[in-house]
């Protein structure tokens, strides 16, 4: 967000009868959780503690630890009043307990707040959870955010090219990750989330080991570059050498389930359709018992900085409705008994009439001869 939405935040606070909002971060970024502070302040903190404080009268302040990081905060954030501190709780208290500010205070990002800080603040003010204030603002992506998502998608394409090129006999798993990360950084990604697995029968995607790729291996990867806080994900499978008939058949099944699911994605439909459509195709092929953990994790999820709507895990019970400009990953990543775990899927931008595929890499079983 930027300064133009400050009035909107202030109005939300007044509607909730909150005197102020503390938006906290411990400096970590979790792929499946909102980064509330990064969204509100436009700044990635180092940690251990940082907070933006917005009052119901429309003022904003940014407090960062360590103290020496304040100059970067002031340069990168739209919040002009950025200060460094080595006494975080004390600085937050001082910023809130001042003339004109009093009463209940909302806390976004409080899930990560350590007990000593929460306890200190609670002695001076009445804190109440307010993640929803930021999520309400961030629920639908702005044009600027979508542009960043597209930049991340371009990095994902570069990452897959490197993934495919490296998935060859003799290359170690961690070397594949090194090449993918290198390509995505050169393509503009400022952070990366990469999981993979290699072998004739994979069980799940994980961190890389020393294992060398062998002829006949199936190499699966989840390639997720980040551009200025926005993630995109590509899930792909590469056959090292000609694929067996079982792999071709199994991947075709996943592709059919993926395409059926994507065909139903558009603004206004329940997000749960993403999951139930995939499950229906797989169940119809006789794999109903594999449509649950540990054979799969989730059929999809949202991505974003301030909100991951329609959710960090899309299943049959997901209550949200897809909205235009939601960014949604659809991935029937699945363990099948004949082939092991396979990766298939990618990120889409929801539109009123359907959805737009964000990466250009073809969705298919890739084969390295």
């Amino acid at each position: 967000m930027n300064a133009s939405r400050l009035d909107e935040v202030a109005a939300l606070l007044r509607a909730r009868q909150l005197a102020a909002l503390v938006v906290y971060s411990d400096g970590s970024t979790n792929i499946l959780r909102p980064s509330y502070l990064r969204y509100v302040a436009g700044f990635a903190p180092l940690g251990p503690n940082a907070a933006a404080i917005v009052t119901s009268s429309g003022s904003a302040m940014l407090i960062v630890e360590p103290q020496w990081d304040a100059a970067r905060a002031a340069r990168q954030s739209w919040i002009a009043d950025a200060v460094g501190t080595d006494s975080f709780a004390e600085s937050v208290r001082a910023a809130i307990i001042r003339p004109g500010v009093g009463g209940r205070v909302g806390l976004a990002g409080g899930r990560e707040m350590p007990y000593p800080i929460h306890s200190d603040l609670s002695r001076a003010m009445t804190l109440e959870p307010a993640d929803d204030v930021v999520e309400a603002l961030a629920r639908v992506k702005t044009p600027a955010e979508i542009e960043r998502v597209r930049r991340a998608a371009a990095a994902a394409d570069a990452g897959f090219e490197a993934f495919r090129a490296a998935a060859r006999v003799g290359v170690r798993e961690y070397e594949i990750v090194a090449e993918v990360e290198y390509a995505m950084r050169l393509a503009g990604a400022d952070d990366n989330f990469i999981l993979l697995s290699t072998g004739p029968h994979n069980r799940a995607m994980r961190a890389p080991t020393d294992r060398r790729v062998e002829a006949g291996d199936i190499v699966i990867g989840e390639i997720s570059p980040v551009f200025d806080g926005q993630f995109v994900q590509l899930c792909r499978t590469v056959s090292v050498g000609p694929p067996g008939a079982a792999l071709v058949t199994a991947y075709d099944l996943l592709l059919r389930s993926y395409r059926a699911s994507v065909a139903r994605v558009r603004a206004g439909v329940p997000a749960s359709l993403v999951a139930t459509t995939i499950d229906d195709v797989l169940t119809g092929a006789g794999y109903g018992e594999y449509c649950r953990p540990p054979y799969m994790r989730t059929r999809g999820h949202g991505f974003g900085v301030g909100s991951v709507a329609p959710g960090a895990l899309i299943d049959a019970d997901t209550p949200d409705t897809l909205l235009a400009d939601h960014v949604v990953v659809v991935h029937p990543n699945q363990y099948l008994p004949e082939t092991g775990y396979l990766a298939c899927g990618e990120t889409h931008l929801v539109t009123p009439d359907g959805c737009v595929r964000l990466a250009r890499t073809e969705t298919k079983l890739w084969i390295n001869e």
Binding site: G27, N30, G47, W68, A178, F193, P208, P293
Partner: protein, 369 residues
């Protein structure tokens, strides 16, 4: 110095049981249990949170978090320990492959699972030592835990863990040296390389470190030409001709970190590493002082006395030194107030500043006492 945390610790994840055998962990638990006996503790809870704050549970278990989640080891004075980590049940196999602890419990509610373990071990009314608790524990988890232990006596015992961690075993020293080889080789690769942006420089350093088996990599830069320079993460900005950039690179290999700092000057697109007798002399003098009898405070005093005003100012900005090991920033953090003596087995990062090659230069390396 803190550095921006990645979303995922995505590098090589291997437990080399020859380099770090189960006997090493048996030694550690024996030393901790001896300390527990001295203090009358029936159990010790070693808590960790996030990529930068999980050193205590890793020290005992060898398990690392790869996402910014929490982990906890319950170490009874006698009987089997338990490893609890925040994550899905499907992560149990991967966790089990990198720890010697048999009782591995993934969970989403850390406090509840901790109470289950304490119940199983009949420790609900015990005297329990705490490491990094409540310092790093999210407030909701701490509140739940404490309310479930009305008859227990909770005692801060983090110093006991730091005492054990401060002096590295011969195996730990070798792990730090292996990490140092990665950091130094990556930084050496910059010598005479051509880069026009910080992002491409970062891509190369990450790639070099990953290809050598780095588990986690962090990088910070300081544009020394600016009067008000501070360290910050690399940005998507150009490196101008004549720019003077201090680069701090830290990387971990099989749980152990190393860190080094070099200064480069841009000669057109080519980067030259600043060297010279003055800079090396300052660093060597610091190493010699750390290896002679003395305290950290006296080391800082001597470094300040030997430095010119601008060099002194630089050291105050970047820090004089700190401990390193399973976490990248460990006690002792060098300051004039730290009167602890140096001791054999400490792994330390030392920094030096000097005027060299027509400007200020910083140099740092990891050393073993």
């Amino acid at each position: 110095m803190r550095a921006l945390q990645p979303t995922l610790r995505l590098g090589r994840d291997v437990w080399d049981r020859e380099a770090m055998p189960v006997e090493e962990f048996a030694d550690r638990t024996a030393r901790l249990r001896a300390g527990m006996a001295r203090r009358g503790l029936d159990a010790l809870l070693l808590f960790g949170s996030g990529l930068d704050g999980c050193g205590h549970p890793t020290y005992v278990s060898n398990y690392i978090v790869k996402l910014p989640f929490t982990a906890l080891v319950v170490l009874p004075r006698s009987g089997e320990p338990a490893l609890i980590f925040e994550g899905a049940t499907r992560g149990r196999a991967a966790a089990g492959a990198t720890t010697w602890i048999d009782d591995v419990r993934p969970c989403w509610r850390m406090a509840d699972t901790c109470l289950e373990v304490l119940t199983d071990r009949r420790l609900l009314d015990a005297t329990i030592g705490l490491a990094a608790m409540p310092r790093l524990v999210p407030h909701a988890e701490w509140t739940t835990l404490v309310s479930g232990l009305p008859f227990a006596r909770l005692v801060d015992a983090e110093d006991l863990v730091w005492e054990c961690r401060a002096i590295k075993s011969a195996r730990e020293v070798r792990q730090v040296e292996r990490a140092s080889a990665i950091v130094c080789a990556a930084l050496d690769s910059v010598r005479s390389s051509t880069h026009t942006t910080e992002a491409s420089l970062a891509a190369q350093l990450f790639h070099e470190a990953r290809m050598r088996g780095a588990e986690d990599v962090r990088m910070m830069v300081a544009p020394l030409n600016d009067d008000d320079w501070t360290f910050r993460p690399p940005e998507a900005v150009g490196i101008e001709r004549g720019a003077r950039l201090a680069i701090t690179l830290r990387a971990s290999r099989e749980r152990y970190w190393s860190e080094a700092t070099r200064t480069v000057v841009a000669r057109g697109a080519r980067l030259d590493v600043v060297s010279g007798a003055a800079l090396q002399g300052r660093f060597d003098a610091g190493v010699a002082r750390a290896r002679s009898a003395g305290t950290i405070a006296s080391w800082v005093d001597a470094a300040m006395s030997a430095a010119a005003p601008e060099e002194r100012h630089a050291l105050e900005r970047c820090g004089f030194g700190h401990g390193i090991g399973i976490t990248a920033d460990e006690p002792p953090i060098f300051s004039r107030e730290h009167h602890a003596p140096f001791a054999p087995g400490m792994c330390l990062v030392l920094a030096a500043a000097a005027f060299a090659d027509d400007g200020l230069a910083l140099h740092g390396d990891t050393i073993v006492l």
